[in-house]
Subunit: 256 residues, 6 copies
């Protein structure tokens, strides 16, 4: 009944999810622009290499490796050096090629994973697969095939997905991928006291229940730091955030 965990190396978050992601699973990480998807994915890869000795692979469909070198270095993560040391590989690809190379037994990615002993993979972003099919059933097949290929290689993967809902309600799952993956993390903007904060929540996780707190997080000079639950707020994930009425009374009149 016990399972191997692949931690993020972010203590407060790993604790929420019973120690880490389930090893060998495919995990969706969704968020609006600027919520920190790429930062969290890079941190997962970086900590994997430096704290857990698990080589990592970043498959990117949009930015060149240079952007990752640069962005990671902001947090003191020297991706260029890690690549030179053979612990990290950043590959710029396109969705069609990526699927083919992952599916073939001797494909580029398969060989890379095996040769480098890759244990962690980040895909930035799975959203680009959506350009491969108009029919939703065909797209679902493509996404499933991609995910199965990753799982067959027994790596723990984070699949980034762009969420168009900037603020306000997340009304709908707009793609079937949340039904296919093993876990589903959401990053959200939250407006509080005329400022924008960020929330993280592990909504779905295969297996027994994990902690489903909606936590505040910050992006510091050392990467993401997960903090407490939001207090006295309603509707963070499910709609327009606002103070709970009791919080409002207490703020105005003091606590009984």
């Amino acid at each position: 009944m016990s399972e191997t965990r692949t931690p993020f190396g972010i203590k407060a978050f790993d604790k929420m999810i019973s120690g880490g992601l389930l090893s060998g699973t495919a995990n969706l990480l969704e968020g609006a622009p600027g919520t920190g998807k790429t930062t969290l994915a890079m941190q997962f890869i970086y900590n994997g290499i430096t704290q857990y000795k698990e080589p990592g692979l970043i498959i990117t469909f949009e930015e060149f490796p240079q952007q990752y070198y640069h962005d990671a270095m902001q947090f003191g993560w020297d991706f260029k050096r890690l690549e030179a040391e053979g612990k990290l590989k950043i590959v710029f690809s396109d969705p069609q090629t990526a699927i083919e190379e992952l599916s073939k037994i001797d494909g580029q990615f398969v060989k890379l994973i095996e040769e480098m002993g890759i244990r962690r993979v980040a895909v930035d972003s799975i959203t680009h697969l959506e350009s491969l099919a108009i029919d939703p059933y065909e797209l679902r097949e493509i996404e499933r095939k991609f995910i199965n290929a990753l799982k067959r290689e027994n790596v723990t993967s984070i699949l980034l997905r762009e969420n168009d809902s900037l603020l306000g309600p997340v009304t709908q799952v707009t793609d079937k991928i949340p039904f296919i993956v093993d876990s589903y993390m959401i990053l959200r903007y939250v407006e509080i006291d005329s400022a924008i904060e960020k929330a993280i929540c592990m909504l779905k996780m295969r297996g027994s229940d994990h902690q489903k707190d909606i936590r505040c997080f910050k992006i510091t000079g050392h990467g993401i730091e997960v903090e407490q639950k939001f207090s006295g707020r309603e509707g963070i994930m499910s709609g327009i955030t606002h103070s709970t009425p009791q919080d409002a009374f207490v703020n105005a009149f003091g606590k009984k």
Copy 2:
């Protein structure tokens, strides 16, 4: 006027629904990704076999049997062994084949049901039937045919359906299947005090009135445990959940 019931073996929930599902009926179980649809269906099948001596069948259109063996084992349910003992069968199929094999008198599923004495069936997920027709009237016919085939075999079935409404209002029935089935269960995420909880409700059940509480449930190491009603919350099923005003007053000032 009395009818045979097929219990889930989850006491609090069976009590809500007057002892169990009506035997021989088709029952819809709908929920967003990660709400526990598959867990509840597996528990229905597992308890059927172990507590009520009713052999079970799982028809799956997406995951391979291995995923079920693995996921069930997290709850201590040894599906592999049950299959070996001839009490359970997990069949990976596709919607088109499933319908054909269910409709033919000597079809694969029909023979399986008869030979194994199958009493309970779980279909994961009925959503996949939607790929068979674009026209809503044609789809309705397909879904009705599928359901009628199951009912003709006199098994009690649970049909899983993916609901795209993650959080916030369930505005619309997006398919006609809720009008065709004998009962309609909904699993929902509910945001309470900056955490995500889960709710279950039996919305529709053919025959006399059952209890229509919206209950909180947890997924523990032993499967689903149904708990109390949510107190002091409005809009759980029908929209954005928030504290009732009276609850807010009481929390701030104490009860009179």
Copy 3:
């Protein structure tokens, strides 16, 4: 100025609508899945036969007569016997045939109505007519033709219609049929104190004003029982139900 009434035989409801439906009219009964449309229609037919000596006809486009025998028997209504006694007829048909047979002077339904002296008709469900035309103006013509045929036979009919709005606002009339019929009843789910209740309202009724209360109703072992108005609730029909503010104050602090 006085008109003949065709009562449901449900006292509290008949009282609301000035004694019953106007005899010879076509009446729309709309509701989400599981709200009790079929039960109310069966009760209208059953009470018509047993209390008012008015033979009844059920035209069904989806379920076989067996389902009605079974479901009615849950309430102690022996439809099979009534059919044997020539007081009831349940006909499984399809929309195209039904319209033709109703429109021809010597059509199946026309002959049936005349031979059996049918006074009450239930159509389960008028929604199926929607498959006959894509153009809304053409559909309107079909629906009007169907309704006129029923009115020409001078029967009092209940036309069931599936409403896709499960909970939350009924924003829109999604078909022109409410403009054509003589009355328009709506059944609704209402979430109150973390449970789902049911509401009935006669929204439209040709002629002078009837009572437009939104009443709570239950489905008991004897059929539908209409109870009081909901107290201290807003938005039952028009949107998200919630406590009225005054109700909230009173609950928290007591009544002045």
Copy 4:
């Protein structure tokens, strides 16, 4: 600056609109099914004949004259007799014919209006014109042509229009006709204390400002009776109706 008025003969309403509709204008009357559009139109025609000696014409695109005879008689208005006396004409037509006959100098309607000295016209309903064109600009031309033909004949007309918004917000003008007509009346359902009431409002009226109260109205045995403004309610026309907060306080604690 003074203009002739054509009163409804409903005192409270005529007062709101400075004595009546402007004579010779085209006036839109919009409402959901069952809100009383036809009743108000019939009352306008009936009172015109009996109180103001102005012969009336009803052009109907859906119901046969018999339905009007019957419905009017519920309010004690003997339309059959009025027709026999040459003071009223009810014509069943179709949109295409109606436009042609109104546009031709010697058309059916033109001749009728002149021969009978018709001063008031009701069109039930203008919605049917929408079947004549898919292109919104073409439809606008058709509607304008229809309206201009009526105005050229110098009659005061009421154009009924079906509004699909049953309850809840009237979000949008769904057709350009409100921009073309001389006045725009809206009938609405309003949910208050778990019952459905009816509201009337004259939203637009060419010329100087009229009273824009939103008034409650009832349909009695003598037709429509317009009552007071709704008190302590917000959002009647513009959204979900609810108690104003001050009303809630006063109800709970009494007035200061």
Copy 5:
């Protein structure tokens, strides 16, 4: 840095907008049916002629000049006489012709503007340009061309635009014209205490900041009179209007 202003001659409004519209600019005036767009435009033209000696031109795509003579006369503005005196011209045209005649150096409108010394133009309504193109980028080009032609002639123009949002939120700019014009005025219905009032707001104005109050206005026998800001109301322009909570407390308990 100082610029010439073209006042409306409505004191309270001119004051809000620093003295008037910027001379030589194109100004959008948007509103739902009946909000007073045409009245405000006629008043701008009338006051221009009588108070500021600036000849005016009204280009109309829907109503004939007679309608303007009639409507203006309600406010005591004798448009017929002004036309006879060569100070005003009302031209009925169509969008295609209007654009052509405005674009040609010796076009009808250009010659008219020059010969009469036209300083103010009202276009009723710019909405009709939308019939000229389906493609939004093509439409934008047409609207820009039209606006540029007016600005080249150095007249100050008011472009009326029909807004389909009757009441409730103005969610979206539904056309790109607000991005092209020099200023953007909105007229709105506001429901207050069960009556409909009217609001005016100058949302956008090129150059330094003007007053962005949302003001109440009335249409009196002398035209539009702009009054104060709405007090104690939220959501006038941005959504469903309602009392502010503090206003509610004060109304119920009195001011501290």
Copy 6:
């Protein structure tokens, strides 16, 4: 880890964003019509030239340079003179040409940037690129290509984008460009006390966390002045703005 910053020269805003935009990045500036996008962009260019000695380029797809000369002069910024001095260039272009000239090594823009030593670029507006492709994936490629060309030239650019959401919720990212750019600023209208105010927020900024306050700003005779956070308001960016409940209590009863 330290990076060069390109300040706006607006103290309060530069402070919020840790000193300025990251040099060499592409920055999105989005807002409804009239929110001040062009003013902010002109100020960025003007202050760049006059305070930081960084020559600037404005690429415009809609207005002619004359409009910029005129509008800038309202704030005392003499763009004509700056152009004459070789410190500024305003180029009217079209999207297709702009992309080509930016992409070619010896293209017009590339040569201009190199010859003039351009350090800052404003594009008014990037929205016009949307006319180049219907397919969203193709558009994304075009936008990425455009942005990469700017970044290759190592200029710091501001890309204006028209946002159609006038007031009320910004529900959705309507284009993928926010995911591609390095930072994402939003300008918004906010209704407060029956007047329209303006808010600015830097939602996304690559690298470590900046201040995410939602600040009020004014457009004065000297350009944009950024002020404090809004106090006691909820939902500024995420929905309908309203007073926080505590603010309402305090306003009515005074602070404890």
